[in-house]
Symmetry: C2
Subunit: 242 residues, 2 copies
Amino acid sequence: MAYELHYWPSIQGRGEFVRLALEAAGAPYVDVARGAESAGRGLKAMLHDLNDPALVHPPFAPPFLKDGNLVVGQTAAILHYLAPTLKLVARSEQSRVWTQQIQLTIADMVSEAHDTHHPVGHDLYYEDQKPESLRRASEFCRTRMPKYLQWFERILVNNPAGPRHLVAGKLSYADLSLFQLIEGLRYAFPKAAEKALARAPTVLQLHARVGALPKVAAYLRSERRLPFNEQGIFRRYPELDL
Amino acid sequence: MAYELHYWPSIQGRGEFVRLALEAAGAPYVDVARGAESAGRGLKAMLHDLNDPALVHPPFAPPFLKDGNLVVGQTAAILHYLAPTLKLVARSEQSRVWTQQIQLTIADMVSEAHDTHHPVGHDLYYEDQKPESLRRASEFCRTRMPKYLQWFERILVNNPAGPRHLVAGKLSYADLSLFQLIEGLRYAFPKAAEKALARAPTVLQLHARVGALPKVAAYLRSERRLPFNEQGIFRRYPELDL
């Protein structure tokens, strides 16, 4: 049976990390909120499931995954759950924990990237917090982005199985997520990302290799891949590219 | 061999979620950065390990746990790793994923609580972002805190094994973490937390029960429990208790 992925239909957002894993593995899935209402899908179907009082394990927020009767929320938990079946994690418990640790660090950086345009409040418009966004983005571009990227560079270079993957000698969901993170940084902060990535050549090589994987490349060319836009996590506001 | 917990020595912070799990399980551990330099411990020892270029799996930031040669960072990953050994999670893979999902949602709320006093930049003082903190805290106290607490209330009430625990019929690290979250909210936002918790009676009962567990109660009375203070995640700034 196909997995059901539930996420906001107009942005890549956090759902994209799950989508990339499903696509890279060639797993059958339905992107529920992007489906037609006439087929029982669409945003309404997602919100119905999100608020279903009968759910024993309700998600707090999208994305969430339905696998038959099982419902899993939280991006990192979804990936941890899916990975053994999708063969996107090495087998040992130690490798699974390390992969999860990398994913959680990517998630932290994603949150910080989001907060550059929404430092004061998630329920306010960017236009209502522009001076604060400038201060926050300055810290992000000059300090946080280079620090995170140097950490990814370091763990790639230190991988005993070689620098082609983050964990062991095979593709994991952490590799896919790092690819997506770099995509987002390059979209939102083209100048700052280029500068910081110049000091992270191994990260750049990983990014290129993941983007060239046949299933990933086919997905990126398809209509299933939403473009980045200014409603998502990574937004191109040139004044914040510092 | 005793576990080594590495975390900033003067705050509860994210390290407290790991500390509570170790304490509740009666597991032997060394709180490295709070130890004496003469014994090879203290802050210097933590920073040495954090920056050790020989580490194959370096943590990005504290807290991190050393278990023999294994190093694990990221609070939720540490708890996920420790829980089976400490008997702080139910056995099935489904229960482990659900417990992790709850922990990650607690972590999201912890980050939002932190950002009430540091919306614009982590490297700035609170005093340099007071108006923005007011706006952010207002959203947190009036919207986000009630929304999160209602979700915890809902999953407790919906637990098929009964509302005494978050997952299955036994104590898990998610129960301990929810206890700590409530402690922090009550410290930082006494008025807003009282109001929101009045609508979450099952959460309050869980909090009381966890705090009365003999090992937890003994820990809370001990010198090992640091007091809350205004350098940590949960800070009492009365002007932000909205």
